[in-house]
């Protein structure tokens, strides 16, 4: 288990930087995680997705796939890729402080 420090608080992460304990996450940490991942500023649309990720994790115990995000978050898939380049489901999960989505194998 590794740790990182956001907003002066030490948190537990896995070897790819995903939070292992989502209760350690605070909204104020999100911009710092996002910058570390190469995102400039978090817009209102980013926040809509981040809050949705938290909600889904609380409900289901894992973050959603990109397709489910596109169907249910109110943000279409193409825009998700503009907001969170490369892999929206993973990147948004990381910034939202939830574990890496399981990917349903």
């Amino acid at each position: 288990m590794q740790t990182r420090t956001y907003m002066g608080t030490v948190v537990s992460v896995d070897d790819q930087g995903f939070f292992t304990d989502p209760t350690q996450w605070r909204e104020a940490m999100a911009p710092e995680i996002a910058r570390q991942e190469g995102l400039a500023d978090l817009t209102e649309r980013h926040w809509q997705v981040i809050k949705f990720m938290r909600h889904e994790y609380d409900e289901k115990g894992t973050g959603p796939t990109v397709r489910v995000l596109g169907k249910t978050s109110g943000v279409p898939i193409k825009e998700l890729y503009e907001l969170f380049p490369r892999g929206p489901a993973k990147l948004a999960a990381k910034i939202a402080g939830i574990p890496k989505p399981r990917g349903c194998i």
Binding site: P85, G87, C104
Partner: protein, 420 residues
């Protein structure tokens, strides 16, 4: 159980899970107290593990199909009908002709269906050629013709999105394609590309390492984190949502999967993709205490594989019996999954895992068993022999000798992950 009142269990779907569930429940519960009714839209039960072999001419399509109704024990009523919807609040199933069928307990065993229409361009590409699927009988048979006539170029195997039935089948397809073209002396003219939305070939570390190494040694290219947004059949190109492209001459696409149509039409029953949310241990649906789910129809993190439905069988039987008696549910499924992975050239790997234990090397079911996570001739023979067990033992809801529902740890090298 109440005497004098006959209870009714309705099973939706007569595939692997529904058939073995009905046979188990019929044996466990007295016929004068409980009736078991199974509904399905047709009487054709397809042996789905065999679909993989059809494109390579190693299985005849007709040899994979048997009558659904012939797989049921005496005392089970099979009705051939489409289901319009389930009214959970009224404990009734509405059938296609508008009539209704009341239930005391409902078992949702309606599996997963292919939804090519969810991907731009895919339905058209599947009909005009160049793009195929082997996840249904007709598609697999058509692909056999296409592979027989393929004499060189880029073969792209593409998984559109997870979850899919038998998550290792596309990898097996890549291995079997490598073998097929090698035997025909054409391998040097064929590029095989495996295109997946995952960040590896498999989500679990040790197994991913093993399969990635095998694909690499066979010269199969892997394109990962590719979320297919469009299949362009005319340009013969896969396009991802973030604008990356993979060109192909022939593509084998595994379409998005979803739950059965009636789940979508039933208020409150399904998830976004129409799978049914369930307690992964008790198999009780979240929507109501008298609804249970077995196999691929479930919205859960467990693999969609026949072995899962088989291992869930005893737990489902136990918990429904408890439910009918008014007792708390104490049966718990551990997520046990077991898959043969054909790797071509007459060999296969075997993986065995559950929710807490990823696939590791070793032997199954115990130290003298089949080798795990390693290519062997024995595993290939095991996969072929499984077909007999499927029709004669598994569907009947019996145990396969020596194979328990819970995942065995004897024989497993559980330190493999740390050892790296």
């Amino acid at each position: 159980m109440l005497s004098g009142v006959v209870k009714r269990i309705v099973v939706l779907g007569a595939g692997t899970g529904g058939t073995l569930a009905a046979n188990r429940l019929r044996r466990a519960l007295p016929a004068e107290q409980v009736e078991v009714v199974v509904l399905d839209k047709d009487d054709r039960h397809v042996y789905q593990p065999g679909l993989l072999f059809v494109p390579f001419g190693r299985a005849r399509p007709s040899s994979l199909v048997r009558s659904r109704s012939a797989q049921f024990a005496a005392g089970i009523e099979f009705r051939r009908t489409e289901v319009e919807q389930v009214d959970v609040a009224r404990n009734t199933v509405v059938l296609a002709d508008g009539s209704t069928l009341d239930f005391d307990v409902l078992v949702v065993a309606s599996g997963a269906v292919l939804r090519p229409e969810e991907t731009e361009g895919l339905p058209a590409a599947l009909t005009t050629g160049g793009v195929h699927s082997f996840y249904d009988l007709l598609g697999a048979a058509r692909l056999a013709g296409a592979l027989a006539g393929f004499d060189g170029g880029r073969l792209a195997i593409n998984v559109v999105d997870m979850p899919i039935k038998c998550p290792v089948a596309p990898v097996e397809f890549a291995f079997l394609a490598d073998w097929f073209f090698t035997e025909r002396g054409l391998r040097h003219k064929v590029d095989i590309i495996f295109v997946t939305p995952l960040d590896g070939v498999f989500t679990k570390e040790v197994c991913n390492r093993e399969l990635s190494g095998l694909l690499d040694s066979r010269g199969i290219e892997v394109v990962s984190e590719f979320n297919t947004g469009e299949v362009d059949g005319n340009a013969r190109r896969l396009v991802s949502f973030d604008g990356r492209t993979v060109d192909f001459d022939l593509s084998v696409v595994v379409p998005l999967h979803g739950g059965a149509g009636f789940v979508e039409r039933s208020s409150g029953l399904g998830s976004e993709l129409d799978f049914v949310p369930v307690d992964p241990q008790t198999l009780q649906a979240k929507v109501a205490p008298n609804v249970f789910v077995i196999g691929d129809a479930a919205d859960s993190a467990v693999s969609k594989a026949g072995s899962v439905a088989h291992f869930q069988g005893p737990i489902l039987e136990h918990n429904i019996t408890r439910y009918l008696a008014g007792d708390p549910l104490d049966g718990a499924f551990d997520g046990h999954t077991n898959c043969f992975i054909e790797s071509g050239f007459g060999k296969a790997l075997l993986i065995d895992y559950n929710t807490g234990t990823e696939p590791v090397p070793g032997r199954y079911p115990a130290v003298l068993g089949l080798p795990l996570l390693r290519e062997s001739r024995l595993n290939h023979l095991g996969k072929l022999a499984f077909r007999y067990f499927y029709w004669h033992v598994l569907l009947a809801g019996h145990e396969i000798p020596g194979i328990r529902s819970t995942m065995p740890t004897a024989g497993k090298r559980l330190d493999a992950r740390r050892a790296g």
